[in-house]
């Protein structure tokens, strides 16, 4: 059986908090786990598959410590695939494959972080082979400035403008204004975005995602388990993974590994860009969205700037509504990782449970794309196509 036919997403939950000084990181993982399971009509006792990225605290890439913390006693499958913020999008497809292989039946995927009120995740010291040649301490490179290198080159090659990048943020803020939990409630204009302070030219503060505490979780189960539950499932139609590395120094900053992960997902799902009703696009920065839209084939390479103008991305009636929760740019980017919220909002859209004002009419097929790593150096992509269950 195709792994995607064997399993469905049955539960999804986003933590309502954006500043959580009084909760531990493990507690946030626990709360979103329980929330997603409750959405599905399940409990922690039902979980036999556990999937986490390295945002989870503790041993085993987090899963050992978190399984202990949660009291998961029935685990038959564990996966700590780490791909930055995109990790949960990998986890959903890995969970589907594990379920298809008979390794587990109820897979729990969690993500959480608290960079606003706790310690920053990641770190680990300069031990990687490339570090002395490009790490922040040697070049002053930071996350914003390396993405700025990509934006600058895209502008140079294709004439993309700051105003066009700003359109992406504007659409996100319009969506967030319909989301009572969104961190940013105020609608911004293109002028507001380009007049916000330059962090690393050409990226302004408003081109950057939020820093929020919080998290989310999703539950993937076998078809058989889903039939026993009273909750609308979401089908996993196709998935593709890819990596783009620095290639012996032949870096090209104008595209992402979505050029490979996208076609893999479309082929498996048997659909094209024209079939997509809604997209959750990883939005660490406005330039991330723009390059990914091009790379997935929603427009020609270099045309992204023109594509996003005139409300293309604005729900419910734009040509390609995106990130209708407000995304990482305006709603939530918990622990500097936007993967889980991308999945959750796609599930909401396919179930018809998005916020009033941004629900895409008759939303049947959604695309979720995550970008882990750095547009300015090396990255990994995961594309997933989800479908409403008939």
């Amino acid at each position: 059986m195709n792994a995607n036919d064997a399993a469905v997403i049955i539960g999804a939950y986003e933590h309502p908090g954006r500043e959580l000084p009084d909760k531990s990181l493990a507690q946030i993982h626990a709360e979103v786990a329980i929330g997603a399971l409750a959405d599905a009509g399940l409990t922690l006792d039902d979980v036999d598959g556990f999937f986490l990225g390295h945002d989870a605290p503790g041993y085993g890439g987090g899963w050992v410590s978190m399984a202990e913390y949660l009291g998961l006693r029935s685990l038959t499958y564990m996966d700590s695939t780490e791909s930055g913020g995109a990790s949960p999008i990998y986890h959903v497809s890995h969970a589907a494959a594990a379920i298809a292989a008979g390794k587990c039946n109820v897979a729990l995927i969690t993500l959480a972080g608290k960079p606003r009120t706790g310690i920053q995740p990641g770190g680990g010291g300069p031990l990687r082979p490339e570090d002395s040649f490009e790490m922040g301490m040697f070049t002053g490179a930071g996350l914003v400035s390396t993405y700025a290198l990509a934006a600058q080159r895209h502008m140079y090659e294709y004439g993309t403008t700051s105003e066009q990048l700003a359109e992406i943020k504007v659409a996100a803020t319009i969506h967030a204004s319909h989301n009572p939990n969104a961190f940013l409630q105020k609608v911004m204009t293109v002028e507001d975005v380009v007049n916000s302070p330059l962090v690393a030219d050409p990226l302004h503060r408003a081109d950057c995602c939020l820093v929020t505490d919080g998290g989310g979780a999703v539950v993937v189960v076998s078809r058989e388990v889903a039939r026993s539950l009273n909750r609308q499932p979401v089908k996993i139609l196709g998935q593709g993974e890819a990596a783009k590395l620095t290639d012996g120094g032949r870096v090209d900053l104008t595209y992402t590994s979505a050029v490979q992960s996208g076609p893999r997902a479309f082929e498996q799902a048997g659909v094209t860009v024209n079939d997509i009703d809604y997209v959750s696009i990883y939005d660490s920065f406005t330039i991330t969205v723009l390059e990914i839209l091009e790379d997935l084939g929603f427009c020609e390479k270099g045309e992204g700037g023109r594509f996003v103008m005139d409300g293309t991305l604005v729900a419910p009636h734009g040509r390609l509504p995106f990130n209708t929760d407000g995304g990482g740019l305006s709603n939530n980017h918990p622990g500097h990782r936007g993967g889980i919220t991308k999945i959750i909002e796609a599930v909401r859209q396919l179930r018809g449970e998005a916020n009033q004002g941004v629900q895409v009419p008759d939303c049947e097929i959604a695309l979720v794309h995550g970008n882990g790593g750095d547009l300015g150096t090396r990255m990994r992509s995961a594309t997933m196509i989800l479908g409403r269950d008939a």
Partner: protein, 147 residues
């Protein structure tokens, strides 16, 4: 002057960092497929041959992309605005680095640049790049491109 902390030296890169103390900019070249390799390592990432060797690169190149950084953390907080860039070396690879000794508002994609070494105080130096000023250096760049 930008911060210049001592690099992490490992067996792959010891020769590179040693040469920086003498003002020489080394890269790695594969003798099987002929490609120049960045960052330096003994296995060729193009053809996977171990038949690679050190080569003294010209230290000349052009700006592939750049960002004038206005906000930074740690030691870099005090040196804003500074220029982060990718320089395309005349040998082919693009390396992340800084453009120094320049008016940050004048840097542009395509600018010709040359390597400078900034002492770490630990027996080696970090390679950075500055705009090529003199006519002779310009023609040297042109020569190396046609070579």
């Amino acid at each position: 002057m930008l911060p210049a902390p001592k690099p992490v030296v490992n067996p792959d890169t010891a020769e590179f960092w040693k040469a920086t103390a003498e003002g020489r900019f080394l890269g790695r070249r594969c003798d099987d497929c002929g490609e120049a390799i960045w960052y330096p390592r003994p296995i060729c990432p193009f053809c996977h041959s171990a038949n690679t060797r050190w080569e003294e690169f010209t230290g000349l190149g052009s700006v592939y992309s750049y960002s004038v950084v206005h906000r930074a953390g740690g030691e870099w907080k005090g040196v804003t605005p500074y220029v982060l860039a990718y320089v395309e070396l005349d040998e082919g690879p693009r390396m992340m680095t800084n453009i120094v000794d320049c008016d940050v508002d004048e840097v542009a994609i395509g600018d010709k640049v040359e390597v400078v070494f900034e002492d770490t105080g630990d027996g080696n130096a970090l390679p950075r790049f500055r705009p090529v000023q003199s006519q002779s250096a310009q023609s040297q760049t042109a020569q190396s491109q046609t070579a």
